[in-house]
Symmetry: C2
Subunit: 349 residues, 2 copies
C-alpha cells in the first residue's frame, strides 16, 4: 500500500528548508549551501521523490515551437505519410506546451528550399525535424541551426556529421538487400529489371542509390549470373511509360522480375495490368494508397514499407524529450522496421 507520492512540500518539511530551496537543488540551480544540498539529496533518495512533470509544466507556462521542414506534396505521395505522423503528434505536443509547425518547399526547386530554411531560422524554433533532401544546402542549414543551438533531427535519411540530435529512418542499404531477397525468393534468376526514375536532379541527394547498392550486392552474392536491366521512366510524362515498358519487355521476354527503389511503383501498374498472364513478380517500396491498391489486386507482389508516420512521431518525440525533460535520445541512429506488405496483410497496416 503505497501512500501518496512525495512532493517537494514533503521534502521541505523533512529537511526543515523551504520549497524554494528544494526546487533549487532539484534543478541544480546555484546559490544553495552544500549542507542544504546534501540534506535535500538525502531525503530525495530516501523517499524516492519523483517530480510531477505536469505541475512543473503548468507552473513554467512556457511555449516552444518545433518545426518540420518538408517537401510539399500532392495527395497520395510519400510525404503525405509523414504529415500524418505530424498530425498524430499534435496532441501529445500541445499537452507539453509545444506547438508543431510545418514549413514546406518544392523538392525540385532548391531556391524554395533555401527560402524555407530562412523562414525557419527567422521563427527561432526550439527544435527542427527534416529529411535532408538537398545535401549541400542541408549542410548549410544545419550549420546555422547548430550556431543558434537549435537541436535538429533527421528523418527518412541522414547526412553524416556530428551535430544531429537523432535520426529516424529505414536502414536504407539493407532495404535494398531485403528487396532482392523478396524479389528472388531464393529462386535462381537469370534476369531482372530495375525500373528507375529519370530525373534531372539539381543537387538533390538520392537515397535510392544506397538502396540500389544493397539490392545489387544481394544479387551479386546470391545470383552472380543474374543480369540486371535498368529501365528509365519519366514521371512527368506518364503517357510514355507504358510504351517504354512494352518496348523493353518485348525485347527481353525472359524478364519476369521487377524491382523499383522509390515509392512510385504505381507508375508501372498500368502496364502490368495489361499483362496478367506474364505473372511478373514485382517488389516496390512504401505504402502509398495507390501502391496498396495494386498490392491488393495482385499486380504488385510485395511492398517494403518504412512507417514514415512513425518516423515523424519519434523524431518529434526525441525533440520534446530533450526540450521538456532535458533527456537526450538513448540512440542517435534509430532504424525503423522494414514492413513487408503482401496482399494478405496490407490492410492491417
Amino acid at each position: 500500500m503505497e501512500s501518496k507520492k512525495t512532493t517537494i512540500k514533503d521534502i521541505a518539511r523533512m529537511t526543515g528548508l523551504s520549497k524554494g530551496t528544494v526546487d533549487r537543488v532539484l534543478h541544480n540551480r546555484e546559490g544553495v549551501s552544500k549542507k542544504s544540498y546534501a540534506k535535500v539529496m538525502e531525503v530525495i533518495k530516501d523517499l524516492g521523490y519523483e517530480p510531477n512533470l505536469y505541475a512543473s509544466l503548468l507552473a513554467q507556462n512556457k511555449k516552444r515551437e518545433i518545426v518540420v521542414v518538408l517537401p510539399g506534396c500532392e495527395k497520395g505521395e510519400f510525404w503525405e505519410l509523414v504529415e500524418k505522423g505530424i498530425a498524430k503528434s499534435q496532441d501529445s505536443c500541445s499537452s507539453l506546451g509545444i506547438s508543431l509547425q510545418s514549413v514546406h518547399y518544392d523538392q525540385y526547386d532548391i531556391e524554395s528550399f533555401r527560402a524555407a530554411c530562412k523562414k525557419v531560422l527567422d521563427m527561432e524554433p526550439a527544435g527542427v525535424v527534416l529529411p535532408p533532401m538537398f545535401k549541400n544546402e542541408t549542410f548549410v542549414f544545419v550549420d546555422k541551426l547548430k550556431a543558434k543551438e537549435i537541436p535538429f533531427v533527421y528523418i527518412d535519411s541522414k547526412l553524416e556529421s556530428d551535430s544531429y540530435l537523432a535520426y529516424f529512418g529505414m536502414p536504407i542499404y539493407q532495404s535494398g538487400y531485403l528487396c532482392a531477397h523478396i524479389l528472388t525468393d531464393e529462386q535462381n534468376l537469370k534476369e531482372a529489371a530495375i525500373i528507375r526514375i529519370q530525373r534531372d536532379k539539381h543537387g538533390q541527394s538520392d537515397p535510392t542509390i544506397n538502396r540500389r547498392e544493397g539490392f545489387i550486392d544481394y544479387m551479386t552474392e546470391h545470383f552472380p549470373g543474374c543480369e540486371l536491366h535498368n529501365v528509365f521512366i519519366n514521371p512527368n510524362k506518364p503517357k510514355e511509360i507504358d510504351g517504354i515498358l512494352e518496348h523493353f519487355f518485348a525485347e527481353h521476354p525472359g524478364v519476369r522480375h521487377i524491382a523499383m527503389f522509390n515509392s512510385r511503383i504505381y507508375l508501372i501498374t498500368s502496364f502490368l495490368e495489361k499483362h496478367p498472364e506474364k505473372k511478373y513478380r514485382v517488389v516496390g517500396f512504401d505504402n502509398l494508397a495507390a501502391n496498396i491498391k495494386s498490392l491488393k489486386n495482385g499486380t504488385v507482389t510485395a511492398l517494403i514499407a518504412q512507417r514514415p508516420d512513425d518516423q515523424a512521431v519519434k523524431a518529434i518525440g526525441a525533440l520534446s524529450d530533450l526540450l521538456v525533460f532535458g533527456r537526450e535520445p538513448s540512440k542517435r541512429d534509430n532504424f525503423m522496421p522494414m514492413d513487408i506488405l503482401t496482399r494478405f496483410n496490407a490492410e492491417y497496416y
Copy 2:
C-alpha cells in the same frame, strides 16, 4: 500569430459568469441554467477553447489503478513480450495518475486463474486488461467486472460478447491465411506438414484453431490437391521431438514445407538444423528470441509477428483514455498488423 490559449478564466470573463459555472458546463454537470449553458457554449465555439488536461489532472489529484491479468511465464516465452508493453506504458500512465499492476496465474492451472480473478476483484481496479485464456472462467470473471462497472479490454484474442470495451490483437484467421501464402509462395504444393502441440487442455480456449482454419482455407482454395499432414509433439518432452520428426519426415520424404501455428517453432529447430540439405521452407509465429535466432541463421524461413507489446500499450491506452478523458475507443475491435519477419528484416523489429 496565435496569442495564448484561451482558458476557463477567459471564458468566465467573456460570459460574465464565474470559473465555477464554466467548469460545470464543460463537464455537463447539472445545475446550470439553459441560458448560462448556451452562453458558455457559444464562447467556447468562438474561441476554440481546449482544456489544459494536466491542469485538470493536477486539480483532480486522483489515483486509479489498471490491472493486467496475464499468464506468468518463463524468460523467452510469448507473454514476456506483453510484459514489455506493460513496462513501456508505465511512464505515460503514471503521469496520468494511473498505476499499473500485473496479476499472474499459471496458464495450465485453472484454479490459479480463479484465484487471480478473485484477487483482481478485491483490488477494485479502475480497469482490467486480459487475454481470455480460459474461456468459461473468463466469462464468469468479466461478468463480475461488468457488475462492478469495471471496464475491461481483451488482448491476444477475444470472446464474443457485448461487454468488452475493446480488443487489440491479430486478425487470427487471416494470420493463418497469410501463413499459407508465405509458406507456399504461390508455388504449387503436393504436401505440407503442420506441427501441432499435443496438450491436455483443461478448458483452455485455443486461438490457434482459428489460425489453422485460415491456413487450411487458403490451401483448399489455392492448392486443393495438397495433402496436409498433422504432426504432434509434446513440449514437455523435448527429447522426444527430434525422434518424432525424424520418423515423420523419413516416411514422407516429399514434404518440404512446414508450418506451426503457435509461438513455439523453436521446438523444432534442433531437428531442422540437422537437415540443412533438405532446405525445408518453414513458417512460424511470433518474435520470441529463440525464434528470431533460427530465423537469422536461416533455419526458419519466416515468422509472422503480432506486436504483443503494442497490444498491451494500446489496450492500456484505451483504458486510460476512458478513465482520464472519458473517451470511448473509436473502434472496439482493433486488429494489429501482421509483421512478416525474414532473416533480413528481423533485427529492426
